[in-house]
């Protein structure tokens, strides 16, 4: 049984009327903005509910909206293997705020959340293994933030062989 975006909103809005801050449809994709403190509850419901049953998490995306406050957006792209539906859940995160992890719901959230942490510095509370993923461990800064320079911070530094430390 295929259910459309209106039905999804009806089910979600009926249960979490105060948690859903905003919803919009753009080019056929439904995006739902959820309050940060209700995020985990909403995601749990979307996964467990028999009708909605979003059993597949495609991706977790971070977005930096620099001058705006709250500064970051974290986007969960959910997918249902029952009838191939997609739902985009978005949450606004201020600087220094923590997002509850979704790894206990979908194991596939593990690495994408690490990537958001690495690239934006958004921490995920309760994540089992929150380390940097692309950059090395003592890297300074978060590259995909809008105030991080495109050429990097140390592009004009010369390589000095005397500074190399052999571990």
């Amino acid at each position: 049984m295929a259910i459309d975006n209106g039905k999804v909103m009806e089910l979600l809005g009926g249960k979490f009327a105060e948690a859903v801050v905003e919803s919009q449809e753009f080019r056929g994709d439904l995006t739902v903005v959820v309050a940060l403190d209700k995020l985990h509850e909403v995601l749990r419901f979307l996964h467990d509910d028999d009708t909605l049953h979003y059993d597949h998490l495609s991706d977790v995306v971070g977005i930096d909206r620099l001058p705006r406050k709250p500064r970051f957006e974290v986007v969960y792209v959910l997918h249902s293997m029952d009838d191939f539906r997609r739902l985009i859940v978005k949450v606004m995160v201020g600087e220094g705020e923590e997002v509850p992890t979704a790894t206990d719901i979908w194991n596939s959230a593990n690495w994408p959340e690490r990537e958001v942490f690495d690239m934006f510095g958004v921490a995920f509370a309760g994540h089992p293994d929150l380390r940097r993923i692309f950059m090395w461990d003592d890297f300074d800064g978060h590259p995909l933030r809008k105030d991080f320079p495109l050429r990097g911070k140390d592009f004009d530094k010369r390589w000095d062989p005397d500074q190399i430390q052999v571990l």
Binding site: D55, S58, V77, M81, R86, N107, S108, W136, L150
Partner: protein
Amino acid sequence: MAEGKLLTINMGPHHPATHGVLRLVLELDGETIVKVTPHIGHLHRGIEKIAESMNYQQVIPLTDRFDYTAATLNNLGYCTAVEKLLGIEVPKRAQYIRVIMSELARIMGHHLWIGSHALDIGAMTVVFYAFRDREMIMNMTEEVSGYRLTPSYLRIGGVARDITPDFVKFLRDFIKWFPTAVAGYNTLLTDNIIWRQRTMDIGVISREDAINYGLTGPSLRGSGVAYDLRKAMPYSSYDDFDFQIPVGEKGDVYDRYLVRMEEFLQSLKIIEQALENLPEGPVNVDNPWITNPDLGAVQEDISALIRRFKIQCQGPEVPVGEVYHAVEGSKGELGFYLVGDGTEHPYRMKVRSPCFILVSALEKMMLGHMIADAIAIIGSIDIVLGEIDR
């Protein structure tokens, strides 16, 4: 070794069987794997950051560098995502040409997979046959786009140029030849007792786990889930073609192997239908602010000159909005999350790389197996590090 003591070994990043620069830290109890920690990022080029300073047309060559074994599929994913954001429809002929080139790219990707996968496990002959046929596709790609490995053939709103009669001739020869070639790969591997013993019941992942760990593409279909974006959410006219989605049963290395072997023939079937039913017409969308005017018009018409200059320098301006669009790459769901802010630069481009998620599920598949099986499992999920590290 003493009872209960674990041995930690480092595999990679320069290990021929890790298909690039993947580093795995394996903890072993005897020869049995008890813990796997993948380390990635050795090939990180910051493509998502670079894309933010470029215009939409300029990003296309960057996307070739994700999964460089099947580059046109990345172009397709990116271009269809931008077109979704712009809200434009590409002409039917361009869609069919895109399908032909993408399916050729998928076959190319699978060629590299079967060659290296068999080589890792010890069957050396297959790689020579696979690369012989891969060479044919590369020649065809060169004929139509001018490049062999990273063609950047697609454009926003269409393709770079129409296909040539020589290309059609090469393609017809290839369609005639390729089933024989696939039968050859099958003879070498499918009933080979050594191959079966090395791959059957290795790296099993159940249907539920495969979905929960985010697997997509042939790795997910090997576990019995018939999820193929070409059928599930058709794009670029894939709903016009008649083809099957092969699925496995157990979700072991052998099932994933069989799924990909069948995909060779299904891709060929799609190419055949697209070539036979190729409609006439333009290969670019009829929109003056997206499609370049041709050089003849530029010589004669000042407004065409200005438009060409503007399109080359700025590219299309996209509306404010956010879209997620995914296509079926040769490794799985290749998604692009694009944020447009009304200017000519993408505000944010996030790539949902199938291999990135597949590597994160490696531990689930590897635990309890021997170290030699780790090689078979890495080969079976078909990873490309250019796509993982981006």
